[in-house]
């Protein structure tokens, strides 16, 4: 249970940033 909590919490912390990088790259590529 503890590992699941930490795993989810880490995903909540890191994934938005990672996904954001892709989103920003996509937007830039579209603009180019």
């Amino acid at each position: 249970f503890d590992e699941i909590i930490v795993d989810i919490a880490m995903k909540r912390k890191q994934y938005p940033r990672k996904i954001l990088e892709y989103v920003i790259n996509t937007i830039k590529t579209k603009q180019e």
Partner: protein, 176 residues
Amino acid sequence: GTPVSRVKLLDTMVDTFLQKLVAAGSFQRFTDCYKRFYQLQPDVTQRVHDKFITQLQTSIWEEITEIKQEGNMEAVLNALDQIVEEGKGRTEPAWRPSGVPEEDLRSTIVPYFLQQRDTLRRRVQRQEVENQQLAEAVLARRRQVEQLQLQVQARQQAWQALYREQRELVAVLREP
């Protein structure tokens, strides 16, 4: 009034915990349990009890120090102090993950989409203005071309008239 730092709180709590634990393991109680040994060797009992207390305290403080170093805990707790200090102005409960990642992610992405939308709006606007100017230039050019075409047409007709008269001349010249 001034908030106590989490690191200081932690030290204070551990210190209090230890004080109370030491109080629980008082010499009185120690000798109650090791009564016969105490009667046999009271000095040794005193020294052993003192050693027990100092060793327990030393071990526990070493553990706390290790935990602080291992997870860089002091910096993390100080950072949390900072975050709490900055957010103390607000009273209502803050946002918390909804448990639906798509939903939570939306808000993270929205600022960039808004930025993209604003950029696109500006570009479209700028392009529209530029195209408006180009369109006016094209229209003006069309009028100029029309003028030129009329001029050329007039000249052409004049020359064609001339040509007809030239043919007439030839006819005249050929007359028997």
